[in-house]
Amino acid sequence: MSISIFGEIMTFLGKDIISIKDFSRDDIEEVLKVSETMVPYAKGHEKCKLMDGKVLSTLFFEPSTRTKLSFESAMSRLGGSCIGFSEVSGTSLAKGETLADTIKMAECYSDVIVIRHPQEGAARLAAEFSLKPVINAGDGAGQHPTQTLLDLFTIKDEKKKIDGNSITLVGDLKYGRTVHSLSYALSLFDVELNFVAPPTLQMPNEVVSYLKEKGKKVTQTSSLEDVIPSADVLYVTRIQKERFPDVEDYLKVANIYRVDEELLSKGKKSMIVMHPLPRVNEISPGVDKTPHALYFKQAFNGVAVRMALLTMVLLERW
């Protein structure tokens, strides 16, 4: 059985998916439309063989449980197969092989390459050395475009549209690549943005300036209580201990925000709570059973969005 929903979308055929900044609003909307059609297949309710005989390389130079499993699930649901590694030890890289050579090798063995690497720009380099499409699954503190697309898909799926929403990002806005990429993508939509973080972890000026240049209404504050009543989307991020050179500095801000049922009672009933996961203690487990909690559905949506991207870069029609 094969999916035949969209006929053909050639925009992405053979293209690399490296940075959300490479996407126009139309590009994003195309991906979200195709993602929607993938949901029943991502759930396993229906089967397809679109990728029959196709092989995905997952080159994970640093571990990432969710992203790797999600890509592998996406390829398997499409009827394809996966090869790859999830750490450098035991590979030729441990022997000093260049990334360029590893990519050329993976290009020979597969039809599409997904790469996660601890250094910024690694996916762009990979794309230079591969004629097969390369998808960036996170490069250091740089880009993670598939996470951004699944975040946008989750907002659209739940709110029916992205425009018109007040979106609050809270937590580590300085170091978190997820919130940077999401902000850049949201600059293409008609939204209000609230950035909630302690002053030491606020959104970098270059991101804020970019949004203001695009005419976005941006509010920066350290008080979550101030913005919660107007929020349609609350996007929570973990304050990452590994980003702080000094543990003392980390401890000062570690548990500064905690989203719990009491806090949510001050917001709109329709407000959704998202999180790229893993969470530590920034969202109370009590929130999980409320209708606000969207983070596990968000993680599931990653499969549908990655199925869409794999299909769009590999197939002329489906």
């Binding site: 910024e120 690694a122 380099l125 270059e206």
Partner: protein, 154 residues
């Protein structure tokens, strides 16, 4: 009789109006002098200037530089002019213009950028996102560069 600090050249290239203090970096960017070349190179630093208080000047004898090879010095000296000299006359004069992409002149200031990993067979590339002031963005990691001058490659 007035004594000239640097003699006029008969044939070659004069790069004038270089931002004061940048003459040696200009030569570094242009990879001058070439190994095994015996062309005479004259450098004048902190020379009086009508438009700015002081400027640097570089004179390269016996070699006419092509516009494309010289334009990249606009990175550090956007006001520089190129004068092609034949038989002591200026036969062509133009300002430098920065290309859209700058390759292998400087390294990315992000220490964790893949372009700083040794052994990878790549050129260090930057998109020029603004000409006044000069602003570059690394093609690989997308970092906007805050300090061009100190990251020029040796």
């Amino acid at each position: 009789m007035k004594e000239l600090k640097v003699q006029p050249i008969k044939n070659g290239t004069v790069i004038d109006h270089i931002t004061s203090g940048m003459a040696l970096k200009v030569l570094k960017i242009l990879d001058i002098p070439k190994r095994d070349s015996n062309a005479v190179i004259s450098i004048l630093m902190n020379a009086p200037s009508k438009s700015t208080s002081v400027k640097d000047i570089v004179k390269i004898e016996g070699r006419e530089l092509k516009p494309k090879e010289v334009d990249k010095i606009a990175l550090i000296s956007p006001t520089a002019t190129i004068n092609i000299i034949r038989e002591y006359d200026v036969i062509e004069k133009r300002k430098v213009t920065l290309p859209n992409v700058v390759k292998d002149i400087l390294k990315c200031e992000n220490p964790n950028c893949i372009s700083n990993k040794s052994g990878e067979p790549i050129e260090k590339k930057f998109n020029v996102i603004s000409r006044e002031p000069v602003m570059l963005k690394c093609w690989y990691c997308e970092r906007e560069q805050s300090d061009v001058v100190s990251n020029i490659l040796d």
